[in-house]
Symmetry: C2
Subunit: 307 residues, 2 copies
């Protein structure tokens, strides 16, 4: 459910209301009250879904739009229980609604976010954030780094690992037998043969060479044409070097429908591509499209892995 | 004409062929032969336009797709003559077809490109590259810098100057009386209050404050939503911090129709948003859309300035 004071409850209710076939296949780790409140704000009946609440809040009420240590602690308890259910094989995948780092951390959560928490629980050393939309799939080599630190954060080993994890995911999660993965350069014009930066030659190309498990790597591509080429079908997935190199095109092209997928975990994890939106929580105005896409993708990834 | 061995001649012929009303209002600074060849490759009659050739090549033939010191020297001579014609008031604006830096420099050209040359001829100290498409207008604070140097290249004074030049251009060249100009942050999430980089607080916001001539500055905006907001009408122009922050969205959204405009010159200068494309020169395959947009925009800017 993520933070129960955020938009998590209402996007869950809206998603299940619109996709009744999911009801028998989903378990909500969260409280019933916020779901009931969300159903009222959306003017729908609370969908008949299994809700499991792993925490007793002792009567402290959660108010939409008013996060607190209580709502942060609840989000952490839901996450703990859902992760355990997946690790023990009771559930096949985890879809995380947004939590607020600040409140979760005040409640004792010691991770930067969901991804770091899940990596810890799964004992995973290399994880990769990938955005999957209807038209683009883009994985990130670096994520929440100041732009000035991006170049020095790249390494041959990290590039190679990201290439291999994306290649593996394309085959295992998306059933693309011979995935064509394009690596985006770091610099304008991909460095123009080293005249505008040399990371393409010094780090990115050697990283691609070191990714020996990959079938079909392309690049380093010129950043300002790479996304157009991928849209035109020249690659199945892109690997971007930094946050905004990926997120600017993803949010322009696959705006409301992009899903955040974590690669490198032994479990399937997806997430909508937005935050808690406390400013509109409880109004029923939050769009559920990304949550619906996240649930749908989790089902498809599990099915593809099983096949 | 730019480099006569590039696609310049054929995109000029194609543009004039499709827009006969321009014939009496344009002067081509270039050679007749490459234009005749281009007309043959496009299977059209050479449009009846004034051609002024400021250089005698002594019989050295220019072959499409085969740049040389001769073709580079010709491009420089065309540029010299056209610039003089504009500075002397004989022409109202200059539209530059692409030249090849490498060959121009071998012919004695001592500038990084057109823009630097024009800044020198016009005695202009601060110039700004802006891309103008049907849907987005984006100016750049830094251009051909390695990504690792971008953060340290920003300064309060440069941000302020770019803001003021874009504001002035919106009013003078585009007749937007109260332009709303949005400045894009440098870091993911625009730094998230200094937790992912501090340039927004330390440089960008102070630069905006120092741009006292501006009417309505917005930002610093979160990069991955800024371009969507501008597309939805929330700003008339954007100011990007680095090359790919601007060019990735511009090439996705305004692909073939973006025009490169130089701000900060006393003259109107536009240019298509592509290079010499020697690999396809002479085949008639080059698309003339960006050249047509560049000529059209130059006419509109001149008319707007006169009004």
């Amino acid at each position: 459910m993520g933070d129960p004071a955020g938009i998590g409850p209402e996007i869950i209710v809206a998603a299940l209301h619109r996709s009744p076939s999911w009801l028998s296949k989903c378990v909500i780790f969260g409280d019933v009250e916020p779901l009931e409140r969300a159903a009222r704000s959306l003017d729908v009946k609370l969908p008949n879904v299994t809700v499991r609440c792993p925490i007793s809040r002792g009567g402290a009420e959660i108010v939409a739009g008013q996060p607190s240590v209580d709502s942060g602690a609840a989000a952490v308890a839901y996450l703990d229980a859902a992760t355990t259910a997946v690790l023990e094989g009771e559930c096949a995948a985890i879809v995380t609604a947004p939590l607020a780092k600040q409140w979760a951390q005040q409640a004792g959560f010691s991770f930067a976010g969901h991804t770091e928490y899940l990596a810890h629980r799964c004992n995973a050393h290399d994880v990769v954030m990938m955005f999957v939309g209807p038209r683009l799939k883009v994985a990130l080599v670096t994520v929440h780094r100041p732009l000035r630190d991006v170049a020095q954060s790249l390494s041959v080993a990290r590039i190679a690992r990201v290439c291999e994890l994306v290649d593996e995911s394309m085959r295992r999660d998306f059933a693309i037998v011979q995935p064509r993965i394009a690596v985006v350069g770091l610099n304008p014009h991909a460095g123009e043969n080293g005249t505008i930066g040399d990371e393409e030659q010094r780090i990115i190309a050697p990283g691609m060479l070191a990714a020996t498990a990959c079938h079909h790597l392309l690049g380093p591509w010129v950043p300002d044409v790479a996304f157009r080429l991928a849209l035109d079908g020249a690659a199945d997935a892109l690997i971007a070097m930094y946050h905004d190199q990926a997120l600017i095109p993803v949010k322009l092209i696959d705006f409301d429908d992009a899903v955040n997928v974590t690669l490198g975990l032994p479990i399937v994890r997806t997430s909508p591509d937005h935050g808690t939106a406390f400013d509109i929580a409880g109004t029923g105005r939050a769009r559920a499209t990304s949550m619906m896409a996240a649930i749908d993708l989790a089902f498809r990834m599990v099915e593809t892995r099983r096949r």
